[in-house]
């Protein structure tokens, strides 16, 4: 088996900088603990240049550099960065183990054929047939895979190192080395580990420190000792350590299940009370979500937003999208409108966005028939229109059973696929379309017996030239308030053909349509 270890150095800092990339070139430290117990766990290059090291207390660090920017460890940032790392790993192999804290093990057995054929990058001789043979030689497949992995991880905003070996332990040690990528040939694990200091092997084991006190400084020193002697002096831990020193790691790779959702979020340094700053931060988070979904070929069909409120409590809401989409602008507009409609009611100090993935809709386009709409484009457009106009104002018109002329309904727009061939359209029926007034315009009417003599209302006024009616319409007699109306068609002397009705009771007269405009 060949295992690649994808390793993000100084993971808490890297995760934070992924969410706040503007801090990348600042002197920043990540601290753990509160008050006087706060201590540095990671520092940017600029802070390290000033002498700040992990383990310093925050007070010590500030005494070295008063303008130091300190950020606490952010569990939400770290979890989403870890998820993003795992998703990149899954684009290289389906068998990925989540080792936590910016480490992922990937079973790359058999994938080397997918990464062949590239030349040494940056040699400048890639396309030159006269270049020396060494420069034209393709990179070994595992080096290419490692280089591609580093590129992919850096594309999601995380620094990366990659080590490849036959065991998880050797791959991890290889990944932690500063020169990256490091590929350990199969069977060379012991030779690779031998010159390295013991601390690299398993820093968590106290036995390693004890062995150093015995005078053993390198992993090779330990590997050369007899296994039985180590086991008799240090017990089971010593045996495991000796195994590790020889490059033997019996732990199998435990692949993780595919996630049912994608999550991004962060804790904020100060509470937000206005919408715009939140939208600004959410835009970056959605952008990251979209890129992660794109890696796996997914689109978002439902987005859940959980806002952490000050001093306590949460505000949770969910938005269903008309069709799966990865369009950040659309999703962000929907979130903005939802927040405007229903504000959280307290300052926001953190947020989590959870995207429920689905496969984007695909359609087979016809060569000879009318052009079909791209489902993803259509979904995005409808979502944007709904966000601009409201759900009830965009959709497919529907006919409704009944008699009232203004009746209408709207449904989700999902056109059937166009026919395979193009045919000429049938001849128009030449129907007169009435321009319906929604709502109807109230008017004052002067009647002359059963006829209307004149009408007056908003933008409608005049004496009636021709009047036709009345026609009686009754609907909903089973309801508490049935509709009972008498309709007339009228043409005014000054021009304009209207449909006028008199509602029963004290409701009065209305114009509900105009013809011929």
């Amino acid at each position: 088996m060949r295992v690649a270890c994808f390793f993000v150095p100084m993971f808490p800092l890297a995760a934070r900088l992924r969410s706040e990339p503007e801090l990348l070139h600042e002197a920043v430290v990540i601290v753990e603990g509160n008050g006087n117990h706060a201590h540095v766990v990671a520092a940017t290059r600029r802070a390290r240049k000033q002498g700040i090291r992990p383990g310093h207390s925050l007070v010590q660090a500030r005494s070295i550099l008063p303008k130091l920017i300190a950020r606490g460890r952010d569990a939400a940032c770290e979890r989403t960065a870890e998820d993003a790392l795992l998703e990149v790993a899954e684009s290289f192999s389906p068998r990925v183990e989540d080792a936590g804290d910016g480490v992922a093990f990937v079973d790359i057995t058999g994938t080397e054929r997918l990464f062949g054929g590239q030349r040494a990058a940056g040699s400048g001789q890639e396309g030159n047939p006269e270049a020396p043979p060494a420069a034209r030689r393709p990179l070994p497949a595992e080096h290419q895979l490692a280089a591609a992995a580093i590129q992919a991880i850096e594309a999601i905003g995380l620094p990366a190192r990659v080590g490849i070996a036959a065991s998880k332990l050797a791959a991890r040690v290889a990944a932690e080395l500063p020169q990256t990528p490091t590929v350990v040939a199969a069977g060379d694990e012991a030779k690779f580990l031998a010159p390295l200091p013991l601390a690299r092997l398993s820093p968590a084991l106290e036995a390693a420190a004890m062995l150093q006190r015995f005078g053993l400084t390198s992993i090779g020193d330990l590997a050369r000792l007899p296994e039985n002697e180590i086991a008799s002096r240090l017990g089971e831990i010593g045996r495991e350590l000796h195994f590790a020193a020889r490059g033997i790691d019996p732990r199998p790779l435990i692949p993780r299940a595919l996630p049912p959702e994608f999550r991004e979020g962060m804790e904020l340094e100060w509470p937000l009370v206005a919408l715009e700053p939140f939208v600004f931060i959410a835009n970056a988070a959605l952008d990251r979500l979209s890129k992660r979904m794109e890696i796996q070929g997914f689109a978002c069909k439902r987005i859940e937003i959980t806002l952490t409120l000050e001093p306590d409590g949460y505000d949770a809401r969910a938005i269903d999208l008309p069709a799966p989409t990865r369009d950040v602008k659309t999703i962000l507009t929907l979130i903005r409108l939802d927040l405007e409609k229903r504000p959280p009611g307290a300052p926001v100090i953190g947020f989590t966005l959870v995207a429920h993935p689905d496969r984007p809709r695909r359609a087979q386009l016809s060569l000879f028939g009318p052009a079909a709409l791209s489902p993803e484009k259509l979904a995005t457009t409808i979502a944007r229109l709904i966000s601009m106009l409201g759900e009830e104002r965009v959709g497919m018109p529907m006919t409704v059973d009944g008699h009232l002329p203004e009746r209408n309904a709207i449904a989700d727009f999902a056109p059937p696929p166009p026919p395979d061939t193009r045919r000429p359209p049938p001849r128009a029926r030449g129907l007169l379309a009435a321009r319906t007034f929604r709502p109807p315009i109230p008017v004052e009417v002067i009647t002359d017996g059963q006829k209307i003599a004149s009408i007056r209302g908003e933008n409608i006024e005049g004496a009636v030239r021709i009047c036709s009616g009345p026609w009686r319409i009754e609907e909903g007699w089973w309801r508490d308030v049935p509709a009972s109306r008498e309709y007339w068609d009228v043409e005014l002397w000054g021009g304009g053909i209207y449909r006028v009705y008199c509602a029963g009771g004290a409701e009065g007269w209305f114009v509900d349509a105009r013809f011929g405009v």
């Binding site: 028939g369 009318p370 052009a371 079909a372 709409l373 791209s374 484009k377 259509l378 457009t381 409808i382 944007r384 229109l385 601009m388 106009l389 104002r393 965009v394 959709g395 497919m396 018109p397 529907m398 006919t399 409704v400 002329p405 203004e406 209408n408 309904a409 709207i410 727009f413 999902a414 056109p415 059937p416 166009p418 026919p419 193009r422 000429p424 359209p425 049938p426 001849r427 128009a428 029926r429 030449g430 129907l431 007169l432 379309a433 009435a434 321009r435 319906t436 007034f437 929604r438 933008n459 021709i466 036709s468 068609d489 043409e491 021009g495 053909i497 105009r514 013809f515 011929g516 405009v517």
Partner: protein, 210 residues
Amino acid sequence: LTSGAELIRALERRRRDEVVPTTIEAVDRLLEGGLPRGKVTEIAGRGARLSIVVATLASATSIGEAAAFVDLNDAFDPQLGEAAGIDLRRMLWVRPNSLRQAVAAAEMLIGAGFQLVALDAGLPPLRGRVPDAAWVRLARAAEGNGAALLVSAPYPLTGTTSEAMLRAEASRARWRGGLLTAVETTLRLEKHRRKRPGEGARVSFHVEEA
């Protein structure tokens, strides 16, 4: 092509593909076959504009194309649309609240790939105004996506950006036996980039039997 008949059929097919016919004979004659794809066509005036828009929507949807109707006055009657031949499953009905929203919606719909977008600005007074540059943007969007854009307004809005402009004169009603039976509108070609303007035609729309 092996014969003249085939050539004629091919040219006819090509011509049909380059326009969206309104299927109203007089209007198609004025517009040289119908609404040109990739261009803006405008119908302005006090005549029966909505009936022409409905007929055009029916024409496009009946051949399987997706069409969008941006209905600023919320004036469309789905029952009548279906009776006129519109395949409602293929028609997206958008009801904006202002002219600005209507123009923005039309631009989005053209970008989404709708082959026919009809924007009806309704009756005066229009709700809001848009700068002239907005019509230039719309025309460019239509050209870029090959969509036919039909603008129906009480007075000319699109200025120099339209390919053709029809003026719909005030309608005259026809009554028979005390019933409104039809409405007649005179259309006049006020502008056409490939044709001499001034031509006119009379179009009649009849009332649907109850």
